[in-house]
């Protein structure tokens, strides 16, 4: 174990988790919860790059989820694109939009940046809910399925839809995590983490701070967009709420809860906050309160997030 890098350990742990978890699933409902965890985990992995690596906050990333979701809802119907292509198109649009919006926004710092991204998210939400001739408005609209199940069927494999989605989203999450982990140790990742620590010092060693912030913003937007597409296609339905403020806050909470600097931590955070509402259905009306409470407790007691704090505590006891 000693020779394995943290990156390999994280990846192996994730692979094991994806593979082993279904052994304990008593019903197909659990596949669905698992899929939700993976999809949220994907968006949150993107936020790890933005928040954890580069130290920039966004309260509007649900906007990009919305773009990804509605790309999958609209493109197959209006442009006749296959759902997978629609997903890529959504990711492209999100990336370009993040680039255009990010250039002016990322000059801001701290709460100014938070408010500006918040505004962006609200903007997307408003467009999706008001342009009902196109998006169906607040009532939402149907989304075509990814078609993976049909593909498998034509190959002679009959797999329940919930399981198809479980394995597919697990695979996408692993890919996303692999990219994020590789980024962490690359020179780009070092530059991002450097500007997180001290922008001035990063500039004095030759890091083009504005460019790297923008890059982190664009990458995380693409992650959010893909996660939005997957969510819409799995549910076969989408409403503007996917781009709503609450969803943005949920994603940030997941990231911060697990540990913004660690991919594994953030995915853990996403899993906990995805599973929690399912487990505590009694809290349904108080979901926001519970979210806020968790956020506060983590900020007070585990500033670095669940996983990094626990690892630190554990290794201190050992050492």
């Amino acid at each position: 174990m000693k020779n394995l890098s943290p990156k390999t350990i994280t990846l192996l742990a994730l692979v094991a988790l994806v593979l082993v978890a279904p052994l304990f699933f008593p019903s197909s409902f659990y596949y669905r919860v698992g899929t939700l965890m993976f999809i949220n985990g994907l968006a949150v992995t993107g936020l790890v790059i933005l928040i954890g690596y580069a130290g920039q906050i966004s309260l509007g990333h649900a906007g990009f989820c919305g773009i990804g979701a509605y790309a999958c809802a609209l493109a197959p119907v209006h442009l006749g694109l296959p759902p997978v292509v629609a997903m890529l198109l959504g990711a492209l649009i999100s990336g370009v939009l993040a680039y255009l919006v990010g250039r002016p926004i990322l000059r801001l710092k701290g709460h100014y940046l938070a408010v500006a991204t918040l505004g962006f998210g609200i903007l997307i939400f408003m467009v999706l809910s008001n342009e009902s001739w196109l998006t169906g408005g607040p009532d939402g609209m149907q989304v075509e399925d990814l078609g993976l199940r049909d593909l498998l069927k034509s190959l002679g494999l009959s797999v329940p839809a919930a399981q198809v989605w479980y394995w597919f989203s697990g695979l996408v999450l692993l890919l996303g995590a692999l990219l994020a982990l590789n980024l962490h140790t690359s020179s780009t990742g070092r530059a991002l983490r450097a500007l997180h620590d001290s922008e001035i010092a990063a500039r004095t060693v030759g890091v083009d701070v504005a460019y790297f912030k923008l890059m982190a913003f664009v990458i995380s937007a693409v992650y959010a967009s893909v996660s939005g597409s997957l969510l819409a296609m799995m549910n076969k339905f989408v409403t503007p709420d996917i781009a709503g403020f609450l969803h943005s806050v949920q994603m940030v909470t997941m990231t911060v809860l697990g540990g913004a600097g660690s991919v594994f931590g953030a995915i853990t955070g996403a899993s906990i906050l995805t599973a929690l509402p399912q487990a505590l259905t009694v809290f349904h009306d108080y979901e926001h309160i519970v979210l806020g409470l968790i956020m506060m407790l983590v900020m007070i007691f585990l500033r670095e997030g669940l996983v990094p704090s626990l690892i630190k505590r554990f290794s201190r006891r050992q050492g």
């Binding site: 020179s187 070092r190 530059a191 983490r193 450097a194 997180h196 620590d197 001290s198 001035i200 010092a201 990063a202 500039r203 004095t204 060693v205 030759g206 890091v207 083009d208 701070v209 600097g261």
Partner: protein
């Protein structure tokens, strides 16, 4: 190497540098001394490009750099060790050094790192630890070593003695002196006037955003006005 003429700079509407002239020749160690608030740090920030200049010219090895953003100036060989050290506390010591060589991706990076560790052996012991855990003196060493990783022909050092115990100040200054043998030109900004002048070839005295005196370091140390105002003798 570095020539500054009529440099002006503002924070908002308030001008803090009112036309600074300064010259650093190749191979020199030049110290800028002055009291707190004289504009020394602003001067260095303008030189490295972190702070915009509102007037005047900046020439580095014959090129006008006044319009270049900070990250481009490093590539020309002008590296800075910023005020308050500004090391990357969440990154390991080695990662800090690798970031110093951010613009390079060749075999020389490892060689330079070995040289840095030879210069500061204590950093080698702690290479995999997070830089935030280093002592003040070690962080200063790291900040200097990181600046050297950028393969500079000229380094700008901002208050390397700040907050250090006297014995560490001597150690750091020895290192600064030794940069001469590496063909690195040094522009040093210091409140610790005696220490800064004792290792320098030439010196400038800064007061409220202007250069008020300049000359060979030995002459400045001997000057009664400076002895009274800055050396407390």
């Amino acid at each position: 190497m570095l020539s500054v003429e009529g440099l002006r700079s503002k924070y908002g509407r308030i001008e803090v540098l009112h036309g600074v002239d300064l010259e650093v020749k190749s191979g020199e160690i030049v110290s800028v001394i002055g009291a707190n608030g004289a504009g020394k740090t602003t001067l260095l920030r303008c030189l490295s490009g972190v702070q915009p200049a509102s007037g005047g010219s900046l020439m580095f090895r014959g090129d006008d750099i006044s319009k270049l953003p900070a990250h481009r100036r490093v590539g020309l060989g002008l590296a800075q060790s910023p005020e308050g050290r500004q090391i990357f506390t969440n990154l390991s010591v080695e990662e800090n050094l690798r970031l110093g060589a951010y613009l390079f991706a060749d075999a020389r990076v490892d060689k330079d790192m070995a040289d840095a560790f030879a210069m500061f052996p204590v950093l080698k012991e702690k290479r995999n630890l997070s830089a935030g855990g280093l002592s003040g003196g070690q962080q200063q060493m790291l900040a200097i070593a990181r600046a050297l990783m950028a393969r500079p022909t000229c380094v700008l050092l901002d208050e390397p003695s700040m907050g250090l115990a006297p014995i560490l100040v001597d150690q750091i200054l020895e290192v600064v002196k030794s940069l001469k043998s590496l063909d690195v030109t040094v522009l040093l900004v210091e409140q610790n006037a005696f220490a800064a002048l004792s290792i320098a070839d030439r010196g400038y005295v800064m007061e409220t955003g202007r250069i008020t005196m300049s000359g060979p370091a030995a002459e400045l140390i001997a000057d009664p006005r400076i002895r009274e105002a800055y050396l407390g003798i």
